[in-house]
């Protein structure tokens, strides 16, 4: 069977296939290893029970929602104390609480965020105002 107007149609089809398979040839068969957020900060190492504010699985997925709630509580309701489900109390602060324990931002937060496709230094945009912990890189 004859194909009419073969040249433009085949070129178009080739472009389409190229775009549709973009992830296949872009990664060239190499899967980057998943991130491995480091917990070896001085504060965490001194903890007897190494636990975060919520259970680990919940932290992994919901930490941004927690931060959002904290921000609202502090900025709108002037309430700085957060009582966790296990009764522990935390100071609702990004810089003074999260980053006190997780003072290794580039080895911790950034590891996941860059892998998940948030842009380094741009998303999350918190660090345009909040001060990131000093690290010896």
């Amino acid at each position: 069977m004859k194909i009419y107007n073969a040249k433009p149609i085949l070129i178009g089809l080739a472009i389409f296939i190229g775009l549709a398979t973009f992830p296949l040839w872009f990664n060239m068969g190499k899967a980057a290893p998943p991130p491995d957020p480091k917990l070896d900060t001085p504060v965490i190492q001194r903890m007897a029970v190494k636990q975060c504010i919520m259970p680990k699985d919940q932290m992994r997925t919901e930490h941004m929602q927690l931060l959002n709630d904290w921000r609202t509580e502090v900025v709108r309701n002037n309430n700085r104390i957060y009582t966790a489900s296990d009764g522990k109390q935390y100071n609702m602060s990004l810089q003074n609480e999260c980053m006190n324990c997780h003072s290794n931002k580039s080895q911790f937060c950034d590891q996941c965020h860059i892998y998940a496709g948030l842009q380094a230094d741009a998303t999350p945009y918190c660090w345009t105002c909040h001060i990131a912990p000093k690290e010896n890189k």
Partner: protein
Amino acid sequence: MGIKFSLLTVVALVLAVFLGVKAAGLQYFFGVIFPYAAIFIFLVGFIYRILKWARSPVPFRIPTTAGQQKSLPWIKQNKIDNPSTTAGVVARMALEVLLFRSLFRNTKVELREGPKIAYQWEKWLWLAGLAFHWSFFIILVRHLRFFTEPVPFFVHMTDRLDGFLQVGLPGIYITDLLFLAAVTYLFIRRVVIPQVRYISLPADYFPLFLLMALGLTGVLMRYFTKVDVVKVKELALGLVTFQPKVPEGIGVLFYIHFFLICTLFAYFPFSKLMHLGGVFLSPTRNLPNDSRMKRHINPWNYPVKVHTYAEYEDHFRDKMIEAGLPVEKE
């Protein structure tokens, strides 16, 4: 009838994944086997459909135009709406594909008192259609962050532009709202306008419901019941690098979302969604109106047996001379 059938099909698909993952532990099927099969069907089906269309000859120009064709030098040609060159056609196609120019000309007919017939401005379909397609495309580009490492710059750029409102955490994407609103409008339009409802089939409702469910599960998973995005990316990267693995502990919502999009891809070549490729093959849009400049020969013309006058004269010359008829060659 069509609505109920389509809705039930989508509900059944969602339930199938839910049970498959929750009760039967079929993560590997829904996370690896079905996606590979779906992409394979999509690519092969797409190529097959396009090549099948390409086998239909389009011998002549079909100038359904909205402007003055190229004519006498002092009459101004509308170079985009009635192009006579390839460049003009490219411009017309670009406007058609990127901005839906034909749909922009959409009007509504109404019978008013009198009776009088009236044609009315009707841009809502165009607006919702454009909003839907562009949001879908932008969401697709943003989703590339799951399938690439390092994430290319244009994905970051789209992501930041789309999320620039910076409302809430995770930040709202404008296209999420647009997408859901547009799909809902497109559905309501089918149901509310009697003429459109009359011509709507399950094949029209099913993709709409599928897209609605896709958008809803996506939004749920981003803003409400979170899933572990890092593990999702592990799975996605595994797929595109042909080292598939299924990390433990991704929420079932992700499998539903993923199954719906794979269903959409597998369904694509068999459905009206093929207009993605078909729009480029629209004869009324992709042919320059140059019938008066070029001779277009019908490709299925076979050599016709002709008897020219010269041959006729050779044949009958003697008789013609006898009868006193004029001949060209003595």
